[in-house]
Subunit: 135 residues, 4 copies
Amino acid sequence: MAFTTKMRVRFRHCDPAGIVFFPRYFEMINDVVEDWFAQTLDLPFEKLVKENGAPTLQIETKFTAPSLHGDMLVFCLTPTKLGRTSLQYQMTAHCGDELRLSVSAVLVHVARLGRPLPWPDDVRKKITQQMLPDS
Amino acid sequence: MAFTTKMRVRFRHCDPAGIVFFPRYFEMINDVVEDWFAQTLDLPFEKLVKENGAPTLQIETKFTAPSLHGDMLVFCLTPTKLGRTSLQYQMTAHCGDELRLSVSAVLVHVARLGRPLPWPDDVRKKITQQMLPDS
Amino acid sequence: MAFTTKMRVRFRHCDPAGIVFFPRYFEMINDVVEDWFAQTLDLPFEKLVKENGAPTLQIETKFTAPSLHGDMLVFCLTPTKLGRTSLQYQMTAHCGDELRLSVSAVLVHVARLGRPLPWPDDVRKKITQQMLPDS
Amino acid sequence: MAFTTKMRVRFRHCDPAGIVFFPRYFEMINDVVEDWFAQTLDLPFEKLVKENGAPTLQIETKFTAPSLHGDMLVFCLTPTKLGRTSLQYQMTAHCGDELRLSVSAVLVHVARLGRPLPWPDDVRKKITQQMLPDS
């Protein structure tokens, strides 16, 4: 059960070659994670980060084709592994049928001081329901 | 023979938790690559991108400890694998003795239309000289 | 006849004080102008910038109250003065009843080499129709 | 007595037209203000923002000529008016002899809750010493 959201490539995303500058993709990726938390976990970032946080620990990304200004990108996020305090997800972005990027990342739930913090039970339950049977 | 450069963590890099927002790290990483091209390969990006480009194909990053506003980060870049048109590099950033991030990335030399383009011989030679004997 | 669009304040917009970092407002302002061109002038930026451009010549902004992560901002843009090659607009952003910022800016239509270029007649007509009777 | 600092235009600053995207100028402007606080007021932002802040209230900018990737910009900042809690400054950026932008801005010293806070006496003194006799 992948979470899906759309984002149009804007002028501010693009570099002198007229394609998305790769650090801007990571801003988009963060927006997708933010939307996923808000829309499916009932834990909007603005609430989460008041006391705690969910920093990214590692992220692997393959950019399989360039994206142009004006392209409509469809992002899909699937949670793939849930630890006591960590969460692994995979994400893709397509434009039409063409894969533009694929991501595998791990983030961790932390208290403000950086100490790992178990996911709350309701968040845990909501994530688990979105995971594929075999992941 | 690693290429080394320093960068201070600025206000604009930091998020509401007061630490570097991870997409900003990728802006820093791109700056380091840009400096490396300009200072060691005699191929400044502003010259490279006039006709061609060097987009990032894949990048894996581990964030091992958070960076705070004001921290002085020391980045080290080492080229690790040189293909006909591709280049793999590894990068680390430390603050004092503490490792903050490690990166492994692949970029590719392309013509404006996106077609892979062999590295020029002089660039090729300069990169090879910087590679470790066994990489 | 103001053009209106909404934008939510995201994590990536916010600084260590938890409020929108002012350079991020200018990214939002540019997005609003981009939407206005695409939705009302039939001149999407991705088409405009292929041959020409519309750089900002001057911009004055007052930030009347801070915006917090999660706030829904309503932006209104009104064209106020149309020259042969230039365009002045005013913009506001509100959160609920509270004014967050007001902008007055001038941009200019240029050819790729930077030479001012008269607005096409159809764009000119569409802009004029949106202007207030007395502006 | 203007504060002066240099910044090179980087790939990440530039838009599809190959010139600095104007919101990136505001990131540079903020860096200049940050350097000015750290180097001349003995009040680095990382210390200032721990308890308080110095948000920008208004900023007027004229972009008089475009900046290209690779250009070396020389920024000059002069404080022009010091209120009990506010500060007005003017800034320019030149590339060689050519003026690229001029800025007039007001920022305010605030406590974390947003309440205006008088400038500390030592900061006040250091700013006053940098002001032109007639400003």
